[in-house]
Symmetry: C2
Subunit: 201 residues, 2 copies
């Protein structure tokens, strides 16, 4: 599907580039609100090309989201790679807030705007988004577990509770960003939140 075959007319578009355009439409309008016409028009290709390449609207979404999520997860892992849990959490929240308010993409987060609640036939969309968010939360929790091992957080820290807290906060920031909150407004919320992380630097 993705490898260019030796024979035949070559594809006139870059698969990953059009996935990014598709992600943007899903991001702005949600899965149910993103029509095939809006998608093909944003992607610059027409329906048969879309269907022969991606198979269906749902598979297109899964591909677009997977690409989006891998990129975000890489950013998250990079942010978490700080010497202390405090610095790691702060970096994660800041990087997240930056992404939520970056000017070159829709405000907020595809994992949430994509379809927290979907039409009855599209429940799988909500599931794949929830799985993505759970993956990010797991990365957070893993970093906190490491901090406990390293003596950077107290032995009795509820790391899954703390990871859930940090994740929930960044999800809430996504909701705020989708409604127009600025980077500075999110930063004020982060400053408050950082009081909650045990062991200041």
């Amino acid at each position: 599907m993705s490898a260019t075959p030796a024979v035949g007319r070559p594809r006139a578009f870059d698969e990953e580039a059009v996935l990014d355009r598709a992600a943007e439409v899903f991001w702005r309008h949600g899965y149910d609100g993103a029509s095939l016409s809006a998608l093909t028009s944003a992607m610059g290709i027409n329906r048969p090309s879309l269907y022969s390449t991606f198979g269906s609207k749902e598979q297109l979404f899964r591909r677009a989201f997977a690409r989006y999520h891998e990129e975000k997860l890489a950013d998250t892992r990079a942010a978490l790679d700080r010497p202390t849990a405090y610095a790691a959490v702060r970096a994660y929240l800041c990087v997240s807030a930056d992404g939520l308010t970056a000017g070159n993409q829709p405000p907020g987060c595809l994992s949430i705007q994509g379809g927290l609640a979907c039409a009855p036939g599209n429940a799988g969309i909500s599931d794949v988004l929830a799985a993505g968010r759970a993956g990010t939360e797991a990365a957070l929790e893993e970093r906190l577990a490491r901090a406990v091992r390293e003596g950077d957080l107290p032995e009795d820290t509820d790391i899954s509770g703390l990871a859930r807290f940090v994740m929930a906060l960044s999800e809430g920031h996504a909701v705020h960003a989708a409604a127009g909150a600025s980077r500075e407004e999110l930063q004020a919320s982060i400053d408050m939140a950082m009081r909650a992380v045990p062991l200041r630097p």
Copy 2:
């Protein structure tokens, strides 16, 4: 529209009761994902009754959401009516988490599942939801301002930042609840968050 006229065939349903059923459908499937067939079937009335009573799908949503939001806002105000900011914030987060995981209604929150991102023609839906959330955040901030006046919070507290932090957290909890998080899991996150509120009880 709402007052029963003296003459003519009487209405066979209770207007506010069917609004609650409608809210549940919007809540589960979002505005775009809630079809008129699903709505009428859940409400137990048929299309012409719905249209003569409420006017359109969008007006139905606005009425259903207004009812939902007024009720939640009353709960919020009641929870915030505690002697200290600490107790008020904690009560708000707990009442919120209870509502997000109550068994007799869909998990999560209509203000968020209803339509963070909508089809291009339905942008007004996202706006009315955002306005509702902003109203809740304003109630929080007002309570914190009172706490500063009463000397319960330090003079230099960033009350809007703190209100935004608390609101964002409860929005994140809504996202978690929509994905199946339990009341206990949200409670662990609340316990973490409460470290961030200045002046313990």
